[in-house]
Amino acid sequence: MRSKKRYGINIEVIFRLIFLLGFTTFFYVVIKNRTVQYYVHPRIIPYMKFGIFSFILMSLFFIEELFKTRRKNTRLVNYIFFFIPLFTSFISPPKSINPASISLNNINKNNISSNSFVKDSNIGSEENDDIISDLPSDKSVFYNNIANDKKDQLVLQGNVIVIDDDNFIPWLDELYMNMIEYEGEEIEMIGFVLKDSEFKQNEFVIARLMMVCCAADTQAVGFLCNYDKASELKGDSWIKVKGFLKTIELNKEKIPIIEIKDIENIDKPENEFIYPY
């Protein structure tokens, strides 16, 4: 065997160190810049910290392998896969997703009510009667029982329903479920403008993005609005609306609609997402 060039250091370990430290840096940077909210629910952050901790420990232990030229022979090409996420995450910084283009559960007239938290009618078809009949017949009573903690948040502020990040989901459920009770009430909320080609000229949806776990399960939820100058609103722009609640029938189903009284443009809130839990 002729002298063959052999590096004094273990290339595989170098690769590993690069990727371990790369992921560590990435995790650290997204947590530090708070861009992490575009990717995952804040509840995941402690897990990410655990991840950082483990990555660093692993790297420390791998360092001592660095100069051991003994190696398990593996294909280095495998490491290309680890390169992909690191690369894409750095070249494509986490800007807010253009909400209207989220194709997963894109809101439209047909499914807007399906995005409500609890169904107001029997789920799907009559086949589910058995399930439903297990439940107390008066659904609002029943709902009060199981979600008392949420109900506490549903307080009207001087006859106005003011929806903010914390009570968005409970209110959404409440309004979709007991819309009759709230008909005519004044409502105030912020959200972004969501438009769809199926909407009428005077309609748009005021929506928020709901994230359960990570970006993969982000969905837009919100209310249909009726506004004369809806066509003047720019999609994805953030607005604050005031209006009255009404109900309309859509695809044989009643859904709440906000009759807009007042609209103002606002800046994008610090956290665009709302979290069901």
């Binding site: 065997m1 002298s3 060039k5 004094g8 290339i11 590993r16 992921f23 995790f27 997204v30 992490v36 575009y38 990717y39 995952v40 897990y47 990410m48 655990f50 991840g51 483990s54 420990l57 692993m58 420390l60 791998f62 030229t69 003994r70 398990k72 022979n73 294909r75 280095l76 495998n78 290309i80 680890f82 992909i84 996420p85 690369f87 894409t88 997703i97 253009n98 283009s101 194709s103 997963l104 894109n106 499914n111 399906s114 938290f117 609890v118 789920i123 799907g124 086949e127 589910n128 058995d130 399930i131 029943f142 979600a147 459920d173 359960v212 776990c213 990570c214 970006a215 993969a216 399960d217």
Partner: protein, 534 residues
């Protein structure tokens, strides 16, 4: 210049000495000074021609004397050779020798060059059974594995051996000695070429890809972005979903590989045999209850299950555990309850159907058992793992050594399995972005089709089991409850991400079988429940 050290390993009678002779024949022309240290002597001797050559010195290590650094240094000082060839005793640990050579004082003067393992094909399987541990280590470290006496076994046998060697050592050259004319040719030309292919080529390929993407992006930016807005935002969403899935699953994967390493190091096969319930009913029960105490995402479960199977847990129990754990896990139950508040029956049905599917799938694997030796890669040496750190572990016991091995092993596995996680996450996010939701609206009124569609979607989207209930809920208006149940039952059990991760340890046949069984049973169970309850 540092002295090169070549190591020949192999068991007695495998033909190490003949190989060295063969090699010397080719390289004598270079007039290098070569010292040969023979740690064992079999029938074959170094040829007299070489012994008489002044450039070649042969040392025979006395039996009781261990090969240590001092000895090698002495020789090096005495002759200052270009090359030392160590013919190692097959029963000695190659690992120990390499550790010695890696010692700081040694690295200054020596560089370990090529490690050659000579295998006697006739005895391969026998040796694997008796001293598999040692044989695996030898193969793992080798740059060249020479299959000797390949003509003495059947062609099929030879193929089998080749495949096994390939699994253990993924990148070394495997040479069938009988089929090549000259050793030199192979090593000189092919090997050099292969080496380039191996790393520098790949590195440069990597570099080129980076540059290409960088260029592409710059051009992309330079072009009027407004026109390309749609594509770009899709890529953006794809990337956000992709990274989101990864950020979420990496910590869980780490938990999984850490648990797997703990099992690897602290749980022996004997313990499993001893303590794992012999009673089949009990073992099923244990598999299901085990899931309750394993409240992690479904991606953490794959490394743990693979490790358990390698440690000797019966396949049917492992399958049941793997399928049940993501559904009976408390976090998942809680999130299902959150997603469908006021409908505990949904939580109940999900649990019930999930457990039924898990148990029935397990039963099928119990009734029609798979050959574990075939289903699971790297099972050859029954108690050993092919990663080098675990072998090293035998040398440095003690708390510090153990912790170090746990993390190294976990790191090794993280990279082995993580690769599949990344591919899976990428595929899942591509499906999420590319599959238009309008397809769903069209099929939602067809009962059976919609169940199937929802199951396929669950499979393709690979949403984490702790959050899929919320996705399911968003479909609840368009789809009937039973198809949503299909989504929630199948999703955590098998999805693209998990199956890819499984392929690190299991063969394709097993994975396809698992997929079919689970899919069929989940489908039947849901139809059954529909008729019964809905």
């Amino acid at each position: 210049m540092k002295t090169q050290i070549d190591i020949f390993t192999g068991f007695l009678g495998s033909g190490k000495t003949s190989m060295i002779n063969e090699m010397l024949e080719e390289y004598i022309v270079y007039e290098e000074k070569i010292v040969i240290i023979q740690c064992e002597t079999g029938e074959e001797e170094i040829k007299d021609d070489f012994i008489n050559n002044r450039n070649i010195i042969v040392y025979k290590l006395p039996k009781e004397k261990p090969l240590d650094n001092l000895y090698i240094k002495e020789i090096a000082e005495k002759y200052s050779p270009h090359r030392i060839i160590i013919e190692q005793n097959g029963m000695d640990s190659l690992d120990k020798l390499l550790n010695k050579l890696n010692h700081k004082g040694m690295r200054k003067y020596f560089v370990t060059n090529t490690i050659v393992n000579v295998i006697d094909c006739r005895k391969f399987h026998m040796l694997m059974g008796i001293v598999g541990d040692n044989l695996m280590t030898q193969i793992v470290y080798s740059d060249i594995v020479i299959l000797n006496y390949g003509d003495k076994v059947t062609a099929e046998e030879l193929k089998k051996i080749k495949r096994k060697v390939k699994i253990i050592n993924k990148s070394g050259s495997i040479i069938d000695f009988e089929s090549i004319g000259s050793f030199k040719e192979y090593i000189d030309e092919d090997r050099k070429e292969k080496w380039i292919k191996k790393s520098s080529d790949k590195l440069s390929l990597l570099m080129l890809t980076c540059i290409a993407i960088y260029l592409f992006l710059n051009i992309f930016k330079a072009i009027d972005l407004v026109n390309l807005n749609v594509d770009f935002s899709k890529f953006h969403i794809l990337n956000t979903i992709f990274i989101g899935i990864l950020i979420e699953s990496f910590p869980f994967l780490i938990i999984g590989v850490l648990i797997s390493s703990l099992i690897q190091i602290f749980v022996t096969r004997d313990m499993i045999v001893k303590y794992f319930p012999k009673n089949k009913v009990l073992s099923f029960l244990m598999a299901i209850v085990g899931g309750v105490f394993f409240p992690v995402c479904d991606c953490a479960i794959v490394p743990v299950v693979s490790r358990l199977v390698k440690k000797g847990v019966p396949l049917y129990a492992a399958v049941t555990f793997m399928l049940a754990a993501p559904i009976v896990n408390p976090i998942v139950i809680a999130s299902t309850y959150y997603a469908f508040p006021g409908q505990p029956s949904i939580v109940l049905f999900r649990l019930l159907i999930g457990i039924v599917v898990a148990v029935v799938s397990g039963l099928i694997f119990l009734i029609f058992p798979e050959n574990e030796g075939i289903s699971i890669k790297n099972l050859d040496s029954q108690y050993n793992c092919s990663c080098i750190y675990c072998n090293g572990y035998r040398i440095d016991k003690g708390i510090k050594g153990k912790i170090s091995v746990i993390f190294k092993h976990a790191g090794e596995e993280f990279f082995d399995v993580g690769k599949f996680l990344i591919i899976g996450a990428l595929l899942a996010s591509i499906f999420q972005v590319m599959i238009p939701k309008s397809i769903l609206e069209n099929v939602s009124n067809l009962e059976v089709t919609s169940i199937l569609i929802m199951m396929i979607i669950a499979f393709l989207f690979s949403v984490c089991s702790s959050s899929d209930a919320f996705i399911a809920r968003s479909f609840s208006n368009q789809f009937s409850m039973n198809s949503i149940m299909g989504f929630m039952v199948l999703g955590p059990m098998v999805d693209i991400k998990n199956l890819l991760m499984l392929s690190e340890s299991f063969n394709k046949r097993f994975i396809v079988k698992l997929l079919f069984i689970v899919f069929n049973i989940a489908f039947s169970a849901i139809c059954f429940f529909t008729i019964l309850f809905f």
